[in-house]
């Protein structure tokens, strides 16, 4: 499978001072123009997989196994090998745009600096390109917005700028870690539809890391479900959502409000619920503590 854009094989990561692996035995691959979701709850290791792919694990973390991106081995690679990749052919969108943008510079100067650092010649050309990108991500007055500082823009607008910066150099792969989780739901909807449109038109691939199964269902063609640092299930989104094989995946899907019996709303629910079970879900059939017998 040498044609894969990204091939992760037997990845294992342990953080300094921890006595267990945060990620163990994770293998998956990704072709060109493919959007794969990595879904899991907190502590599942999904973010670690993203950081390892970017070669951005914190100091002291040890990684084993292999991550091949576009012919380059990332695990154990030197900074000098990775730096030219990052931002150019391998870019990232993080959860909180406030941490991705430098508060001391206008968004325009950050965007043009990125363009010029990676080859766009001339100030005017970079500026024109920046204006174009802000238009693409939905700014109505890009000239003016380029002069704005991050704190003058809303969270949704900042995330649009981050998306523009992530896509501006036509990367081959975008790692997006919870790109919309910090946003209000209507803003999230706008950013998601924008991201979906831009990615599908660009030929870039994307690894979308999220806890939100709805986001995965709408954005991805394949999904990787992680729990406790391991992949429990992977496959086409349609198949897994329709017929999950792994009990954990099934449990995640069953937890979704829209799939639960209550989802018709309490008004539509027939009669009182919860009476039949003495214990809440999660402790059903098992006494919750050693001193409780009922």
């Amino acid at each position: 499978m040498s044609s894969d854009l990204l091939a992760v094989d037997g990845l294992r990561v342990r953080y300094a001072g921890s006595d267990r692996d945060s990620v163990s035995d994770v293998s998956f691959s990704l072709g060109a123009s493919e959007v794969v979701g990595v879904v899991g709850e907190s502590g599942s290791g999904k973010t670690t997989v993203g950081l390892a792919t970017l070669g951005l694990l914190p100091a002291g973390a040890t990684a084993a196994g292999s991550i091949r991106f576009d012919g380059t081995e990332v695990v154990g690679a030197k900074e000098s090998v990775l730096r030219p990749l990052r931002g150019r052919s391998l870019s990232t969108i993080v959860q909180n745009p406030a941490t991705a943008l430098n508060p001391a510079f206008s968004v325009g100067s950050q965007l043009t600096a990125l363009l010029r650092r990676h080859g766009t010649r001339g100030k005017a050309e970079a500026h024109a390109s920046a204006v174009q990108w802000l238009e693409k991500v939905g700014f109505t007055d890009p000239e003016r917005s380029l002069r704005a500082y991050p704190h003058q823009l809303s969270g949704g607008m900042n995330q649009r700028v981050v998306i523009a910066m992530a896509l501006a150099l036509s990367p081959r792969l975008v790692i997006a870690d919870e790109p919309t989780s910090a946003l209000d739901v209507t803003v999230q909807a706008a950013v998601l539809t924008l991201l979906r449109r831009l990615i599908s038109g660009s030929g870039s691939s994307m690894v979308l890391i999220t806890h939100d199964l709805g986001v995965v269902a709408q954005m991805c063609s394949r999904v990787i479900v992680m729990n406790g640092g391991r992949i429990v299930e992977a496959g086409a989104v349609g198949e897994i959502f329709a017929a999950p094989r792994d009990p954990y995946t099934r449990h995640l899907l069953d937890s979704l409000p829209e799939r639960r019996p209550a989802s018709a709303g309490r008004g539509a629910r027939p009669g009182p619920r919860g009476r039949e079970t003495q214990n809440p879900r999660g402790y059903g059939g098992r006494p919750p503590g050693n001193e409780v017998t009922a």
Binding site: G43, G282, R286
Partner: protein, 300 residues
């Protein structure tokens, strides 16, 4: 069967890879070499200060004119002074007094400054401003000058010295406490306690104070070290402990004349001061980096 899965899942998260608080404490402590090194230094000096005077009571004031200015080894482990008194015994007793003054000053400052800081942090802006401005005035005097003024007014002596240093420390402690308390007061659990009907005193002493002690402990440890220096300085210029009671500063002062010919007379108390100050500062620094949550947190 789903229920069973849920169950396992939640229980498995219950204690994320840790045993009780005790184990965390040990592991954290072992990682901080500074605290251990500082602790060992302080322990050595304190042990000497406690054991030596017990072993031979009165040795510090026993005059032996024949054995004056004996070099270390020949006359006792650390040598003798111009009157033939054993310097090991004198340094030990002197350190006892210096440390007691310094510790007492810090305890006084923590009691007064800590409470003032807590009150300032949780009071209306006017009262907060008043308390802090008064403390600012105290703080604007150089520490040594302030202590000198107090001793000049009240006369020299161990107790006066203790309070003089304590007063210097009050604004420092109050500031640290106020800063920590302001931060704690914004925590959700404080708001939560308020929403559950907790009164002001309960919130202040049960929720804010215990959760704001970290920086106070760090600062106190450093101030104990600094106090030993302040005490030595004041006693050196004759404003602190009065002879014949030995204190480290006094030992330095009385040994000054013999420094050229018998350097151990000043070296002994000087080294004792250095070791103790270094020890307490190391402990303070170590605690600081250990308690600092940003450094302690390990990324996921």
């Amino acid at each position: 069967m789903t229920d069973q899965t849920v169950n396992l899942h939640e229980i498995s998260q219950e204690v994320p890879g840790t045993a009780g608080p005790a184990r965390r404490w040990h592991r954290g402590l072992a990682r901080r070499g500074e605290i251990v090194a500082g602790g060992v230094l302080v322990a050595i000096v304190v042990l000497i200060a406690v054991i030596v005077p017990l072993a031979e009571p009165g040795a510090d004031t026993k005059i032996n004119p024949a054995g004056g200015l004996a070099a270390p080894g020949a006359g006792g482990l650390l040598g003798t002074d111009q009157l033939g008194r054993d310097l090991l015994a004198r340094v030990a007793v002197g350190f006892r007094i210096s440390l007691s003054i310094s510790l007492g000053a810090v305890v006084f400052a923590v009691l007064v400054g800590g409470v003032l800081g807590l009150i300032a942090a949780t009071s209306p802006r006017a009262l907060d401003g008043f308390i802090m401005r008064v403390l600012d005035v105290i703080m604007s005097f150089p520490a040594l000058l302030l202590a000198i003024v107090m001793v000049a007014l009240l006369g020299p002596g161990v107790v006066v010295l203790l309070f003089a240093i304590g007063v210097v420390y009050v604004p420092i402690i109050a500031r640290v406490m106020r800063g920590a308390a302001l931060q704690t007061a914004q925590q959700a659990y404080v708001e939560s306690a308020r929403a559950r009907g907790a009164g002001r005193l309960r919130i202040l002493f049960l929720h804010i104070a215990p959760n704001s002690l970290g920086p106070l402990i760090v600062q106190s440890s450093i101030l104990v070290g600094l106090g030993i220096i302040l005490e030595a300085g004041l006693s050196f210029v004759g404003l602190g402990v009065q002879p014949p009671t030995p204190s480290l500063g006094l030992l330095l002062a009385s040994g000054r004349d013999y420094m050229a010919t018998s350097p151990w007379v000043v070296a002994d108390p000087a080294v004792a001061i250095c070791l103790a100050v270094l020890g307490f500062t190391l402990i303070g620094d170590g605690l600081q980096s250990w308690l600092d949550p940003q450094k302690a947190a390990i990324g996921r």
